[in-house]
Symmetry: C2
C-alpha cells in the first residue's frame, strides 16, 4: 500500500526538501479518471485512472483510504502499452471519464520515502510524502519527515487531487446555478 500524506505548499518548503532529499525525476503527469458503470466511487472511495507520463502509460486502481489522518490506500499499478486502447477498453466496459488531473511533479528521494513537489493545474502547489509499505506502521515516519519540512500532522490534506478537482467543479457548478436562479 501507499502510506501517504499531502500538505499545502508553503513558501520555502522546497528548499527544505532539497536539504534532506535528492531529486530523482521531474515530469509532467496527465491522469484521466473514470466512473464505474455500476458502483459510485465517491461512496466507495475508490478510483481507476490512466496516467500518461514520460515513463509510459499506467493503469492504476486505488482502494478506499484506510487511515483517518492520511490518504494512505491500496494501489495496484499496471504498466500498459497504449493509452488509447486502455481508454477504449474501459469505455467499452461502461467506465466513463469524469475528470483529468494534470500536474508538473518533482520527485525527491529520501531513504525509502519519496517527497513529491506538485504543481497541479487548477489546484496549485502541494507536497506529498509517500512510503510504499505492507501496512500503516510507517505512518509516523511519514509525519516525522513532514515535521522536518515544517508541517504538523493537522496540516495533512486527506483529499486526493481527483477529489479536490471534483469539489472545485461542483462549487463552480453550484455557483453557476445560483446565478441562474
Amino acid at each position: 500500500m501507499e502510506v501517504e500524506a499531502k500538505f499545502p505548499y508553503v513558501e520555502g518548503v522546497e528548499e527544505k526538501v532539497r536539504e534532506i532529499a535528492e531529486l530523482i525525476i521531474e515530469k509532467y503527469e496527465h491522469d484521466v479518471y473514470f466512473a464505474h458503470p455500476c458502483r459510485d466511487f465517491a461512496q466507495t472511495d475508490e478510483a481507476i485512472r490512466i496516467r500518461r507520463d514520460v515513463e509510459g502509460i499506467t493503469l492504476t486502481y486505488k482502494g478506499p483510504k484506510v487511515d483517518a489522518e492520511t490518504k494512505s490506500r491500496e494501489e495496484i499499478k499496471l504498466k500498459v502499452e497504449d493509452f488509447e486502447s486502455a481508454r477504449r477498453i474501459l469505455e467499452k466496459l461502461g467506465f466513463k471519464p469524469v475528470a483529468e488531473v494534470k500536474k508538473f511533479r518533482k520527485i525527491y528521494g529520501f531513504g525509502d520515502a519519496i517527497i513529491c513537489v506538485d504543481k497541479v493545474e487548477d489546484l496549485g502547489k502541494f507536497v506529498e510524502i509517500e512510503i510504499e509499505a505492507e501496512n500503516l506502521d510507517v505512518k509516523e515516519k511519514v509525519f516525522h519527515i513532514a515535521e522536518q519540512l515544517g508541517y504538523s500532522r493537522e496540516d495533512s490534506i486527506r483529499e486526493s487531487y481527483l477529489e479536490l478537482i471534483l469539489q472545485k467543479k461542483s462549487r463552480k457548478d453550484s455557483s453557476k446555478n445560483g446565478q441562474k436562479s
Copy 2:
C-alpha cells in the same frame, strides 16, 4: 475488427494449410475470461479476457459478433506488463473470473490472413481463419481460403472457445443435477 471463421478440424487439413501457408509461430495460450459486474456478457455477446503466452500478457475486449455466418467482431487489444496486477485490478472493479481457455496454437500466415490450427484443452482441435480489416468486406476472402482447405461456409462454427467451454460446463452441470434428482 477481426473478420474470422472457425471450422472443426478434419483429418489431413493441416497438410493442406501447410501447402498454401507458412508457419509463423507455435505457442501455448492461456486465457482467463471475466464476467462484468453489472452486465450479462452472455446477453450482450461481449467478452473481456487476459491472455498469457510466450509473447507476453494481453488484455482483450471483444465486442458483439457482427455477422450471421462468422464470428467476426471488434477486438481491442492492450499489451500489459503483468498478469497478476491485471487480474487484481479487474477483480477489484468487480469482474469475476468465469472460465479459462488453454490451447496449443499454430499460426500460419497466408497473405494478409492468418490460419490458426488450435488444440484446445477439453474441446479438441479447430481451424480458425482470420483477417484483420476495417469492415466485413473481406469475409468472402476468408470463406475462399476455407474452401481451399476443403470447408464449405456451412461448416463455420460461430461460437467462441469461451462459449463452447461454457456450454460444455453447463451440460455437465445439468447432467450432474439430473443424476442427483
